[in-house]
Symmetry: D3
Amino acid sequence: MNTSLNTQKALEGIVDAVATSYTLGRKIDSLESTALPNRRKIVEAISDLEHVCFMGFYSSETLSSVNLRHYISRHVYCASDILVGQIARALVVQRLGGGAPETVDLTQSEQIVTELMATLPELRAQLSLDVEAAFDGDPSAQSVEEIVFSYPAIQAITVYRIAHELYTRDVPMVPRIMAEHAHSITGIEIHPGAKIGQRFFVDHGTGVVIGETARIGDSVKLYQGVTLGALSLPRDAGGNVIRRAKRHPTIEDHVTIYANATILGGDTVIGAGSIIGANTWVTESVAPNTRVSYAAPDGGNQIRESLD
Amino acid sequence: MNTSLNTQKALEGIVDAVATSYTLGRKIDSLESTALPNRRKIVEAISDLEHVCFMGFYSSETLSSVNLRHYISRHVYCASDILVGQIARALVVQRLGGGAPETVDLTQSEQIVTELMATLPELRAQLSLDVEAAFDGDPSAQSVEEIVFSYPAIQAITVYRIAHELYTRDVPMVPRIMAEHAHSITGIEIHPGAKIGQRFFVDHGTGVVIGETARIGDSVKLYQGVTLGALSLPRDAGGNVIRRAKRHPTIEDHVTIYANATILGGDTVIGAGSIIGANTWVTESVAPNTRVSYAAPDGGNQIRESLD
Amino acid sequence: MNTSLNTQKALEGIVDAVATSYTLGRKIDSLESTALPNRRKIVEAISDLEHVCFMGFYSSETLSSVNLRHYISRHVYCASDILVGQIARALVVQRLGGGAPETVDLTQSEQIVTELMATLPELRAQLSLDVEAAFDGDPSAQSVEEIVFSYPAIQAITVYRIAHELYTRDVPMVPRIMAEHAHSITGIEIHPGAKIGQRFFVDHGTGVVIGETARIGDSVKLYQGVTLGALSLPRDAGGNVIRRAKRHPTIEDHVTIYANATILGGDTVIGAGSIIGANTWVTESVAPNTRVSYAAPDGGNQIRESLD
Amino acid sequence: MNTSLNTQKALEGIVDAVATSYTLGRKIDSLESTALPNRRKIVEAISDLEHVCFMGFYSSETLSSVNLRHYISRHVYCASDILVGQIARALVVQRLGGGAPETVDLTQSEQIVTELMATLPELRAQLSLDVEAAFDGDPSAQSVEEIVFSYPAIQAITVYRIAHELYTRDVPMVPRIMAEHAHSITGIEIHPGAKIGQRFFVDHGTGVVIGETARIGDSVKLYQGVTLGALSLPRDAGGNVIRRAKRHPTIEDHVTIYANATILGGDTVIGAGSIIGANTWVTESVAPNTRVSYAAPDGGNQIRESLD
Amino acid sequence: MNTSLNTQKALEGIVDAVATSYTLGRKIDSLESTALPNRRKIVEAISDLEHVCFMGFYSSETLSSVNLRHYISRHVYCASDILVGQIARALVVQRLGGGAPETVDLTQSEQIVTELMATLPELRAQLSLDVEAAFDGDPSAQSVEEIVFSYPAIQAITVYRIAHELYTRDVPMVPRIMAEHAHSITGIEIHPGAKIGQRFFVDHGTGVVIGETARIGDSVKLYQGVTLGALSLPRDAGGNVIRRAKRHPTIEDHVTIYANATILGGDTVIGAGSIIGANTWVTESVAPNTRVSYAAPDGGNQIRESLD
Amino acid sequence: MNTSLNTQKALEGIVDAVATSYTLGRKIDSLESTALPNRRKIVEAISDLEHVCFMGFYSSETLSSVNLRHYISRHVYCASDILVGQIARALVVQRLGGGAPETVDLTQSEQIVTELMATLPELRAQLSLDVEAAFDGDPSAQSVEEIVFSYPAIQAITVYRIAHELYTRDVPMVPRIMAEHAHSITGIEIHPGAKIGQRFFVDHGTGVVIGETARIGDSVKLYQGVTLGALSLPRDAGGNVIRRAKRHPTIEDHVTIYANATILGGDTVIGAGSIIGANTWVTESVAPNTRVSYAAPDGGNQIRESLD
């Protein structure tokens, strides 16, 4: 213990001052914490669902067809229990605008969670295709096992596909917390509102940003640093930001987008089969089967000068 | 246990060789670990201070005006105790250049920590504005709660504002450890030496780098991948790097900087109200109320060719 | 517990459906988890080896020349034991293609681990130089201690150098898991197959990608967002991707590559002493002692327009 | 994992059989666990209250008059929160006879807990006298600190005095759980219903049993193995056991009872100032200031015979 | 860290000396620890089986007839897995006399564990009767819940009944470890070899010892400190102790034995319906329906003398 | 959280009252906790030393002659570090009588700990004999492994032999804390001041009490409930208890003392080779080779009456 008596006395006054700072009525002065969703618990539920999707990779038990249902049920029950509670909180907070806690009705969140869980077999089918796409797309991958164990994209896509199911059921806050958890670990940020097709792959991934209203077709491959973003904030006549308007691009099937390319705008469509070069900046639509790139690294405004 | 007798014998020799490698007098051969600050403990203190700033969001207790002071005091006392000890270590190491540990005088670090704690009410006022700025600036945000829970920028800015208080009091090592902790989690690197005004927001954030001598005004908004960096290392007549010279840009009030823009140089000033486009590269000052962007994505050296 | 009886009944059906989804024979339906390497354990071994390399920085014990061997031996033994087991698993999985587990022969993995451990003194010599390079290269660094404690590059490079030793001994999966662990924490992705010389430094680091067949000389310095990537996937006559072919660039000694530069292609060589500017895109070789940059930020297709 | 497929199949049938065994309607087939008090949590609350009573002995913080209230409040709040919840459960279970859970009304348990907490200063006064009695009574005790740290009696008496407060307020189950916790650790079983005066001491203690309706005056000292028990179960006309009837002895002030003495019966009174010898068996009252012992170890039916 | 350099040097020599002390070939110098059963794991398995027996009391989940099988299966699988492994070790050690580890054959231990698990429904039936006996026998018990939660006898009997199943299948070491675990917590020592009928109850319990070859009928009740022990060690012609010979007493149905009674000898039979008084010492058989007690506490060699 | 606003307000007043109760100047009002020895840490050191004594039984590592020294050194270093610190605290408290903390001089405690550690090889020799004595003395023991794993006496004796070394070096508090830890787990209380010879065994053990000044020769065997106690407290002319005077009995070599026998008095000597029967009460010396027992269970004042 390093705090002397004098410091303790000073800290007493500081504690008072901080407590007083909570009486100013600002949003961050709310004391309703236990009515809010709990980030740690949501992360725990995500971990359970990742286990359910990849039992043979994550389990520390010896699995067999005989005991599999037991181990699945553990994770399904845990995740359900957490999500029913957390989603119910999020719905209350949304309805009350952060006001006083009330008795929480779990009916709606139970319905949502049951629906989410019912998508798990289909979710696994999609993830199987995503893993295949990763294997086909990366010459340095030696096995499917390596991909599941060491490719951040698989974790980011798994979490996205789960969070997306909640987003489409109008669950507030929880899907974003899930997405941000995956973002923190993988560096890949996929907004739960984005719509993404089959066989999706992101190589390396750090810095990828996929916006809320982006639409991505099948067999699309992205590299690190790619942004699918908005050109500007849509505002209504009164100047207020219009939330949920389409403001991020559409990427059609079989498109590849190389590192650090920036594609912006809700009306921008990258046509099927196109290849978007690294570092490019695209704010207008691209026809199908088009390659976009810099004319030549040496032929643009790039110069090379000797240092000798 | 997987190590056979033969391997054990080989490991014995290896342990000797490694021990011998610590006798070479290099900086990394120092054995003064317990005299050095402890990263894990500093992260713990940061977590306590984050709780103090957002009690109503992070606490797992039911808070009320009656019990709030108790819960604040827990975190304030814990953080103070840790930081007094860790800052004292850092000051000793700095003074001795990593030499032998001595009896540590806590007076100076107690003074610094008391000053830091006294800024907490003001810090909360600033963070309240930062959270508001985030809400106003992101159309996909549905509530303030969502922002505090799932926007990495809030964590990065909170840690920055705390670390900056220590930096301005010449505390070595500790503020950098704090900043790097936030960097690891959020992908946003803000050097504690930077000066940042009110209502600061970073959207998405992965890859943002804000250098030690950067100056940022009020109501500035950055997107992912923005660098506020140095053009070159300032050196003195003898060729030695000059530490702490102004080498990162100044960003005035109400500037927005889009994704992956790179702004370099200590004399570079981005005038108030300017908008810096995505992927731009700026090494000279920009007048107030200027938009900087590429002429047109198709009009530059970018080409589109059909793949059919 | 938030799950009602009705939900429980629904979950029963869902558990059945998920279990059924594991009978489809896809790669992700394998139940051989306990035969696979365990990510958590590998991360534990990495942590042990980081301790061995920087005992004086990480240890929470008071070290001395008398007791040093004991503390080294703890970490060396722990890491060896884990790695012998995990590498053996990876070798079996590779040989069987993910099939049924068999009795694992530890001889080969014991040999590999002993060799890895024997490199530790040399590894420490290299890391000492890397730390020195960081100190020399960053004017904001105040001490070597600060660098070891708060520079993500040091962690990324340490893990790379360990993983590389395993990669060169043809260990499957494990080195990638190690590299991805470092990537998740630091934002720096270095493929274990890359070859990197002495005094290597990465500043800031988020978004750096160094490909499997990249070759990097001595005294090279990279900034955040630099990609050393492939231009396209090499395929054989039958159209199959050729794994391990040289497809990433070569960076000679004393090269500096600024933020977000993208250098692509297995035949691309950046000559010794060159400086590659920020945001550049390089797909052809650069002669030694060349500076590559944009002609001028204002002189290219970048425009500045007033917003007044 | 050691369970083969065959065993797994056998276990499936066993799980079914065990589940079926829960449908037999016996008391132990109740599934209302979450409506029952939780032993682990009650033990946690006891630990908090032990801290409150002996802050200077148990705390790992540096206490001072300045910070004492903070540390007291932590433990008081934690203990209160747990006990309000657990006592409410116990009251519901008692009312319903173990039936279906209902919404729990906390008003009554809050009242009880507040009353318990309000006795803490008086409780500390009593414990202070108990500690003094221990020091005066044991020549092997070297300091008061030694007594608080290493005398099981102090823990047993502390828990008893707390549990007794709950017992007198008709709290079901919880006081017995507390008492049994202390019994498990110390070997001393004091029923929470017993009434015990000031300056109470138990030396060594293993095997001591003090029954529910025992009455013990001031300055009483017991040794290990002493039983204050019932002679027989009181039954009503119908042959049913009468619960809570006085069936354990009364021990007046200043009595000492040596090891393994057995004193039985609700009408048995050990008069003030008496000394009850080791191994004695007493079922009738003893006048004040009486010594009870065996005539002589050699003079009774004990024989000594040579083994030569 | 409190150890100075000088002490470290002394400790080095001590470590050598201790290591040398392991080369003396004594039983306690064996280094085969990983071939031995692991006490901590066995305790874990016992905890799982206690959960299975009293799901509604120990579970922290909301149980229902729908989900009960899942929660049972968790504990059954965990316990099985542990016990298969630990029993296999015990069998190997027994066969080899503590010699070198070998590949362990799990067949036999799987068979034993499956048999143990198959007894669980019957075990629960017995425990239900034991709990009833406790409720009927103790006037201070207010509910069945109180008994399961706070009567050490229930835990001791539960563990005994499980350990006995293993003892009768000739499992070495493991049942004793189980019994000693219960002894440590409850103060009640029941050797797994004892045979105990239905509706068994032990009140208070501290100090009870029930020997290996004791036989106890139905509806027997013991109080604290009762010993059912051996008179002397049976030896063969050569003077060697004969292990497993009947040397502890037989207690017939409906016997009550009061506190601290000592009953010794393999031929001693306490006839059905008898009552054995407190502190008595019995080494010869007692006819059915007999009360054994001291003539009178005052009428024997006990004296009362005034202290006035 | 179960505490309502009203209760919170009541608790505030209670916290004040409890804090006030710490200003009364009683022994239990001391706030010097961090200057006192820490029970939990001392228990940790004991655990380390138990490992050192029985490495092959407690270790979870695969031990060999090659790696043994490493594992011994871990436990020796840990235990030394803890004990040096805790003993130093105990010495300061003793010197100051619980007064204000001072800078602690570790020299004396380092000396004591080094001496304790140096006895470890001899301690192991003694424990080896104790284990042998247990095996020879208990017909239900099947192997030495079973004894080390499941006989409480081994743990009690191990802790006693360690604590005794500290007691003879006048260490206050710490040995008692060690002894009480063993007492809590095993039910066997051996005061660290007792002197106990070789080949000591305690069967069953619950309730055994061995006083501070007891002297026990070689090859002595005790059963449960045996007390070696004091007849009365020795007082000086002024009526003060004389601490450390001889007041517990002497037991010579080869004595067996059966269950619940009570032997009292500092001048009482049980001659070599004697057998003391169960439940006997001995306060005068017994000649060598004497059997002490009750004349006959039926021939004394014990009566048997029919219940028919």
